[in-house]
């Protein structure tokens, strides 16, 4: 008896006995944006807010103060942070191999990001040291994410081009949500119910 692998591949070759030709893929769609940097950031903010993320904007020198303000407004006592996060924050517990149950006990998480997509209001995490394991941005109910202006692209193709598929990636567009009840969007199911973005420019 041949293996399932050989048999499935054999079936495919027989199914393609008419030798269909792979078409040339027409790439006439937009592969980059045309907005100037300021408009690109404004678009990102607009799209984040539209999908119920909270947004604060600040300059690099104001960043740490802004993070403090966000955490204190939220009232977090303990937050988890990835090992490579550049800022010292109050109540920070560094993820050095915490269990999911440990992370379930904290009040929030603070990370950086890899890329942000203005047109879709999306933030992408790539598990770099300042973003950490995927679990720490999932289990807590509050995610505070720092986005630098140079990480913001306008379109999805520009984001895909910047990312490395060999890193585990998480694309995040607003807080956890569902449309499963009468197809109306409700924010807040299993992931963080509050997403706050600090845009640094």
């Amino acid at each position: 008896m041949s293996s399932a692998r050989d048999e499935v591949l054999g079936r495919i070759r027989r199914a393609l006995a008419d030798r269909p030709v792979a078409p040339e893929v027409p790439r006439a769609y937009r592969r980059s944006g045309d907005l100037d940097p300021a408009a690109r950031l404004d678009l990102l903010v607009d799209r984040l807010v539209d999908y119920k993320a909270a947004v604060r904007r600040c300059s690099p020198t104001q960043l740490v103060d802004t993070l403090f303000n966000s955490l204190s407004a939220r009232g977090t006592a303990r937050i988890v942070v990835p090992p490579g996060l550049a800022w010292d924050l109050p109540g920070a517990v560094v993820d050095d191999g915490l269990t999911a149950a440990d992370v379930d006990e904290v009040d929030g998480v603070v990370t950086a990001c890899a890329v942000a997509v203005a047109e879709t209001g999306t933030i992408v995490l790539d598990s770099s040291p300042d973003q950490g394991r995927r679990m720490i941005t999932l289990v807590p109910d509050y995610h505070l994410c720092v986005v630098r202006a140079d990480q913001v692209v306008q379109t999805v193709p520009e984001a895909v081009a910047r990312l490395d598929p060999d890193r585990p990636l998480t694309w995040i567009s607003g807080p956890s949500a569902t449309s499963d009840i009468e197809l109306n969007r409700v924010e807040g199911v299993h992931g963080p119910r509050t997403l706050e973005v600090v845009l640094v420019s």
Binding site: L16, A17, Y51, V156, T170
Partner: protein, 542 residues
Amino acid sequence: MTQTFLGLPRAVDTEHLRGQPFPVAARAAVADSQLRRNLGNATATIRAKRARVVGEVPDWEALRSAGAAIKDSVLANLDELLVQLESEVTRRGGTVHWARDAAEANAIVTSLVRATGAHEVVKVKSMATQEIGLNEALAAAGIAAWETDLAELIVQLGHDKPSHILVPAIHRNRAEIREIFLREMAAVGLPAPADLSDSPAALADAARRHLRRKFLDARVAISGANFAVASTGTLSVVESEGNGRMCITLPRTLISVMGIEKLVPTWADLEVFLQLLPRSSTGERMNPYTSMWSGAVEGQEFHLVLLDNGRTAVLSDPSGRAALRCIRCSACLNVCPVYERTGGHAYGSVYPGPIGAVLSPQLTGVAENPTLPFASSLCGACYDACPVAIDIPTMLVHLRSQAPHPAAERAVMRSVAYAMGSPRRWTAVLSASRAGRLLGGRRGRIRALPPPLSGWTASRDLPVPPAEGFRDWWTRTHGGPTTPSLPSPGPTGSDVAGPGASGQRRGGSGGARTGVDPAEAAGGSGPGGAGPAAAGAEGGGE
């Protein structure tokens, strides 16, 4: 057009791919006014959302063309791309398994779960695992599978069946969901709070609490895959709630079951589908969460099960294989006037709606699923909405030609063809048909015809033939037939006279098709009559 299918096996275990004949199931569904209200509200909501976010993309048609071409290139090179995917996943620490059919896939997954010693698994919503009945197979092996998508949870707790590709509980409204949670949650985990309201936010919160412990304790998760990138071995799961991330991230062992067609060749190809899928599916610019991973990551054990289960048989039909482009967005369901009225259960398959009407019969063989190709009014809304431009109406007609037609229908069609073969015979038929006026009721409608024509009047009235037909009127007002001078007989090549002349005068082209009520009447009925579908469709498109 006849097809030889090269003996490629169809799906054998068809329990989840076919049900009652569509007209029978649809009749019951359209009689359920609560169901029709739920569906009408939900599909109207999602249609409006989709239209808005598709409208804001200036290059939507270019994305559709690219999406269709990428998927066609996958199908043309499917063997090489699967081997490449296998090698890239393996190189990154994953293990790839191949399954010829549902039973083999279920056996692979069951043995993988057993090897971990776990007695329960958490699941991300996945069409492939529904198609193969994985939950039932695991249950038979003493393994509990918890569905974690909110809609799947509603279906599982309600001992119900999914009725939509994206929103399996679309047929339930909030009051019904509240009832199910209050009644069922306690038996399988954390109960719903006694004072649970029916607001969607409260219901979502109840699901969050109910599932959290299961996520934190789970040792094995089972997912499907939206896309797999052959060149990088990357899998991708697109979701909203975070239940997918929980399953993909937390358990030590991750098993993904994927149909062999869900590939894209290169990493860059994702840039097309990450735009097409969310906007077509939930009507969002982007879904809340998309996870991507290549091989085994973050200390996990990763298994990928590649599933045929009839897909190679679909691939073998050049006129049907484009159904394998499908990315399971469900846009075609939401725009379909038939789906909107019958809901998904009437299709009897985990793949309902227009795509289900072409995919399910191809997976099982049309003989096993003969009524689904007729579950459509051929209005074409599905083709317009499809992000990978699957020409579903043409495919439906192609599959109808493979379905067995009842002897009575064939006899009627032969008679009509004979009658229309000469103007003299046709005139005689038209004169004779005037006797049909005697069947008319008070409002000039024929409500029941004797067999074999009863299939037509079972679900709709027929207008009585007019006292004077067009050809009589033409003869009376224009002084005689005009047959000899016709410049072009029209597309059917028939020499039906009068209407052709009329078309010529008005500069129109559809002449030869006018005035053929009896033929249209006979041609519309499929096996068992597509009655309720066509009846439902009449009010569609507003």
